[in-house]
């Protein structure tokens, strides 16, 4: 029995970032874990298929529900404060063999949060996936221990590696232009008369001359008188 969960999908700034994707193509992410696998090291937990990296909006997450056996094994890991490790194999149109990624969450946190996790997939502009990482969500919905099977609630985020900014030469040149223009305008504006501009220098000099002029004649007059 397999239930389908159409995940809530959030694309961060689709319009802004999707533009830097050079190619479009499909991505298939196979999710495997090591719970209740019998003799194999890893067995399937689910699958994410994405029709278009650029659009990213129609992704389908199919995941098996966890049985009591799964929960028991998870709890065993949680007892030793261990990690629940998830292996993902990403296949794209260019890469049919698939690239292997690993990610882990703390088993106790995963149980505590009611088997809810966030899947972050980072994509380069050339469409290649560089990382698939799992994190537990911060929702608080405790696990109903009596239920026969438990759904895994996964939120899937497709994150694009952004194009780095380049040194902003254009706007700086514009700024310089504006400043230059402002200065030129300023020069035109300042057409006050000579006196209006420099009165603050002239007045003290004038006062000084007047004072010295007023005091000088005295000794001269005294000399003449003698």
């Amino acid at each position: 029995m397999r239930s389908q969960i159409i995940a809530l999908l959030t694309i961060l700034g689709v319009l802004n970032y999707a533009a830097c994707i050079d190619y479009d193509g499909w991505v298939n992410i196979k999710i495997e874990h090591s719970l209740n696998c019998g003799r194999d090291k890893y067995c399937s937990r689910g699958n994410i298929s994405l029709k278009s990296i650029r659009a990213g909006s129609t992704s389908l997450i199919e995941q098996i529900p966890f049985t009591r056996q799964h929960i028991a094994e998870l709890q065993n890991i949680a007892e030793v404060n261990g990690f629940y490790t998830i292996r993902t194999i990403v296949t794209t149109a260019d890469n049919s063999e698939g690239t292997e990624f690993f990610s882990s969450v703390k088993a106790d946190a995963f149980i505590e949060k009611g088997l809810a996790d966030i899947i972050n997939v980072w994509v380069l502009p050339n469409g290649a996936v560089i990382a698939v990482s799992f994190q537990v969500t911060n929702t608080t919905q405790p696990l109903n221990k009596d239920a026969k099977s438990h759904q895994v609630y996964s939120n899937f985020f497709l994150r694009y590696v952004e194009l780095a900014p380049i040194p902003d030469t254009a706007s700086y040149v514009q700024k310089l232009e504006r400043e230059r223009e402002a200065r030129e305008k300023g020069d035109v504006k300042d057409n006050r008369s000579f006196l209006a501009k420099y009165w603050m220098y002239i007045v003290p000099i004038a006062i000084f001359v007047m004072i010295s002029g007023a005091t000088n004649p005295e000794p001269a007059g005294a000399a003449g008188g003698r």
Partner: protein, 919 residues
């Protein structure tokens, strides 16, 4: 003063007030350090530079010019002249570090002639006293493939170039040394007997050829007009059965063509005849040189004897009799194997005086004189420093005693009664008094010559720098003087990716400081661990430890054990974990490691678990940073271990706080890979090394990564070369949590709980220079601003405030409103005053290391490369230190005069009031 002025006439009061203000201005201004750069008289006060040349390749005594020198050409492509008396560099030319700068020939007569490069070759003549270039011409060979086997020498003012084509012929061309004019065409001498084991002993080219048992010793003067081949069966000289093909030219010889055979016999070529010497090679590892003296040639041999140390024996070439004057041995010189680089002998007043220039396996260079006296030594290993660690000095015994007295635990143990404590206090005070008196006595007498003791100073500026060099020699250096305190040579240490850890500082007196160097074994590639006391240079703890596996990663445990020692955790190729010391295993908790494969850009993370018995590593995450395409990691930058972040946020102009995203587990990886559309792309990815989550990532198109990145607090910067615009750029990233805090203040950060993505501010700037190394300043408590220090290929060490690189900019308009980020100048201005090393250019800077000083304002910086340069920087100015030329006398005199004036005016004022009252 206010009280005083009430009683005085108004105009006097005004004057006093004025004086009062002025006085405080004087005090105020003398307290603030207004200087930005250093003054001329401060040159060399806080900094020093040491110049090196590298391992000696060729050397020759310059006996012609008046100032006696040694001209050396080195493996680092440096041509230099060393002062014969002191060993200091007189002049130095640093050539290109690529093969175009390789020195092929050094010939010293009145002029110095060098041949550098590898097809085309450059022939240059230098003035030996000044190092000025006199002439230059280039030489290009047609035959590209064989060019590597070219041999050059100078003969009769002609440059001879010989190119052997093994098994066929030898091409010889002669050029005018000054002009490069070719005298006639290249002559081809048939020589089917040549092979790659041949040696040149100018002008003879000597080979051993023929089947086993019937080998012939063949020699040919390649410059003579008549081809005359000397040929002798080898059985005439050595036992054919034990002979294994050893044919070596002599290490230093400019007298007569000669070579050693089978590391045993010395054969000369005299009058076109082989002549075997009576003297045999004493030790198979001995270095043999032929020296011309006034009465005939002398064969000098030097080797390291197990019992006697460095040993030299000399024999007359003609008679085979030993020359007793040149017999020497020196126990102190231990340098692995030695080689006689150059030797010269003179005979003033009927006394044979020889000088030997000896290079060791450890790249050291020694000039020795008669009787084994070492005139000077140079540690050329320091031209290739690969790892640096600043280590604190221990406190003095007295301080240690005081500290232990007031240590709560210790006190409780030792002083059960109040009397014990009292006597202890008296004792300590008596000791203090003693040191005070000693200090006074010393100050009275002549200044003591002994270097200051290795104890911590008040400001914590004095440290020891542990330097690990490429050749495997480890040095302890005093940071204030640059003097070498100790050295340790480990020939089997391969220092590629070597790591140095300070596992215990000198802060815990009964325990010594503890530094561990983790490298590889030269042959097996297995881990090699050296534990050293950085103060004395003695091996301690694990001492020299050879592991039997190759290591993937190693780290220090985050908490110390009972002995205050941080355990070393080693992850080996088979993903097994070892911990040193083993007793620290139970301390392992929440420990994670990451391993990045450089060539595949695959990064994996491990969680270390302790199950009560043993440690194990569990792989928890794996990412492919290249995204499957063939990318490689150029540089990874993590935060300095145990980094302090003083302020959790940044105040914005509108008085709100933007909180920093300070994740101690964040690692920046810069990868470079090909792209079908954009040639090369550089991807910078911030990965949380514990959870494996990618925090931020950005891509540069048409760019090539440079191995330079810095990462502290919440900001990162890395350099790359923009292929499109053909310039170097620096990209900066700042990570912010936002306007509210994610965690409560003081709460520990957990990577496993990190479900939110931080905001990323990005910016890029043009750098109009070629960077060679990058680092940030580090201070004790991170209160001080952080500056980025860049070493430029031009030899400057430039300090850039982070404010210039900031990714997030903005400010307040004049009316108080917040304005958005101003368009900043896109180019970083590197002013000449930002250069830390003023006019002392550094040749080939390679690394910068910064360490905190005890003073919060100060960071200690060491730049390594061909030169070593040490200085201290104060990014926020020396706010906790009086400036260097603070005038203590002036301030004392001014204060004293003021107090005097106050009381005298008070006295006069009271007298005046009294008089007025009587009137």
């Amino acid at each position: 003063m206010g009280l005083l002025s009430i009683h005085i006439k108004p105009n006097f009061l005004g004057l006093l007030k004025c004086l009062n203000k002025l006085n405080w201005f004087i005090v105020f201004f003398s307290l603030i350090n207004l200087s930005v750069c250093i003054y001329e008289d401060q040159i060399g006060k806080f900094d020093w530079r040491q110049t090196y040349v590298g391992r000696i390749k060729f050397s020759q005594f310059d006996t012609v010019s008046t100032a006696k020198k040694i001209i050396v050409a080195t493996e680092e492509n440096v041509l230099a002249a060393l002062n014969l008396k002191t060993g200091q560099v007189v002049w130095r030319h640093v050539f290109e570090s690529a093969s175009t700068g390789n020195i092929q020939l050094l010939h010293v007569t009145e002029k110095v002639v060098t041949v550098t490069g590898s097809n085309p070759y450059l022939v240059r003549g230098w003035d030996s006293s000044t190092g000025v270039l006199l002439w230059e011409w280039s030489l290009t060979l047609q035959n590209e493939e064989q060019a590597d086997f070219s041999e050059f020498w100078v003969q009769n003012n002609m440059l001879v170039h010989m190119l052997p084509v093994f098994g066929s012929h030898v091409e010889v061309s002669m050029y005018n040394l000054l002009t490069g004019q070719n005298r006639g065409a290249t002559s081809k001498l048939p020589a089917t007997w040549t092979n790659d084991g041949c040696v040149l002993s100018a002008p003879y080219y000597t080979c051993i050829s023929g089947g086993v048992g019937s080998q012939q010793l063949l020699s040919l003067d390649v410059t003579s007009n008549a081809v005359q081949l000397l040929s002798r069966p080898i059985s005439e000289y050595v036992n054919v059965n034990t002979y294994d093909g050893g044919l070596r030219p002599l290490d230093s010889n400019n007298v007569i063509p000669a070579f050693t055979l089978d590391d045993r016999k010395i054969v000369l070529i005299k009058n076109n005849q082989f002549e075997i010497l009576k003297t045999e090679v004493v030790d198979p590892s001995a270095s043999v040189a032929l020296v011309d003296t006034a009465n005939g040639q002398v064969v000098v041999q030097a080797w390291i004897d197990e019992n006697e140390g460095f040993t030299v024996r000399a024999h007359a070439a003609g008679s085979g009799a030993e020359v007793p004057e040149l017999r020497m041995s020196e126990l102190g010189l231990r340098a692995g194997a030695v080689e006689l680089a150059a030797a010269t002998c003179s005979r003033p007043r009927d006394l044979l005086v020889c000088r030997l220039l000896v290079t060791g396996d450890d790249d050291s260079l020694h000039l020795m004189q008669q009787g084994g006296r070492i005139l000077w030594s140079r540690e050329e290993a320091l031209a290739n420093v690969v790892a640096v660690e600043f280590v604190e000095l221990p406190v003095s015994d007295l301080d240690a005693a005081i500290e232990s007295e007031f240590d709560q635990k210790e006190a409780a143990k030792m002083y059960s009664s109040i009397w014990a404590a009292f006597t202890r206090r008296l004792q300590t005070q008596f000791q203090q008094l003693q040191t005070l008196i000693q200090g006074l006595q010393k100050a009275d007498g002549e200044p003591d010559e002994a270097p200051p003791a290795l104890v911590r100073d008040y400001f914590g500026l004095h440290k020891i720098i542990v330097l690990v060099t490429d050749v495997g020699k480890i040095f302890g250096m005093d940071n204030l003087s640059g003097a070498l305190l100790w050295q340790y040579y480990e020939p089997s240490l391969d220092t590629e990716n070597v790591l140095v850890f300070t596992r215990r500082t000198a802060r815990y007196p009964p325990h010594t400081a503890y530094v561990t160097i983790v490298g590889k074994h030269e042959e097996s590639g297995n881990g090699l661990i050296i534990s050293i006391n950085p103060i004395t240079g003695e091996l301690i703890g694990e001492k020299l430890m050879h592991l039997d596996v190759q290591l993937l990663q190693c780290a220090l445990l985050h908490r110390p054990d009972n002995d205050k020692l941080y355990a070393l955790i080693l992850l080996d190729k088979d993903e097994n974990v070892q911990i040193l010391p083993g007793s620290a295993a139970p301390l392992v908790e929440n420990m994670y490691m990451y391993v990045a494969e450089k060539n595949t850009a695959r990064v994996q993370g491990y969680a270390l678990m302790y199950d009560g018995k043993a440690l194990s590593a569990v792989r928890t995450w794996l990412v492919h940073l290249g995204g499957g395409s063939p990318a490689r990691i150029v540089v990874s930058a993590r935060k300095p271990a145990a980094e302090r972040v003083h302020s959790p946020g940044r105040v914005l102009p509108d008085r709100s706080v933007l909180y920093k995203y300070v994740n101690p587990n964040l690692v920046l990886f810069v990868t470079e890979g090909p792209d079908p559309l954009h040639k090369d792309v550089v991807v910078a990815t911030c990965v949380d090394a514990v959870s494996g989550a990618v925090i931020a990532s950005q891509v540069h198109r048409r760019a090539r990564a440079l191995p330079l990145a810095v990462h502290t607090e919440h900001y990162l910067a890395y350099l790359y070369y923009n292929d499109k615009h053909r310039r170097t750029e620096i990209a900066t990233l700042e990570l912010y949590e936002g306007a509210s805090r994610w965690l409560a203040a003081g709460a520990a950060f957990s990577s496993h709980a990190g479900r939110r993505a931080p905001g990323v501010e990005r910016q890029a700037y043009i750098l109009a220079a070629t960077p060679a190394a990058a680092a940030t300043t580090v201070t004790e408590k991170s209160l001080t601003d952080k500056h980025v220090i860049l070493a430029l290929a031009s030899g400057a060490l430039v300090e850039i405030p982070w404010g210039y690189l900031e990714a997030r900019r903005g400010g307040l308009a004049e009316d108080g409103s917040v304005v958005a980020a101003q368009p900043a100048p896109p180019e970083l201005m590197l002013g000449a005053d930002a250069s830390l090393n003023y006019n002392r250019s550094l040749a080939r800077p390679a690394r910068i290391h910064a360490a905190p000083a005890g003073l919060e304002s100060t960071s200690l910086v060491l730049a390594t490369g061909l030169d070593l340069f040490y200085t201290r920087v104060a990014p926020s100015k020396t706010f906790d230190l009086l400036k260097d030329d603070f005038d203590y006398y002036l301030i004392t005199i001014v204060l004293a005069a003021l107090i005097l004036a106050t009381y005298s005016t008070k006295y006069f004022a009271s007298r005046k009031i009294l008089k007025m009252a009587w009137k």
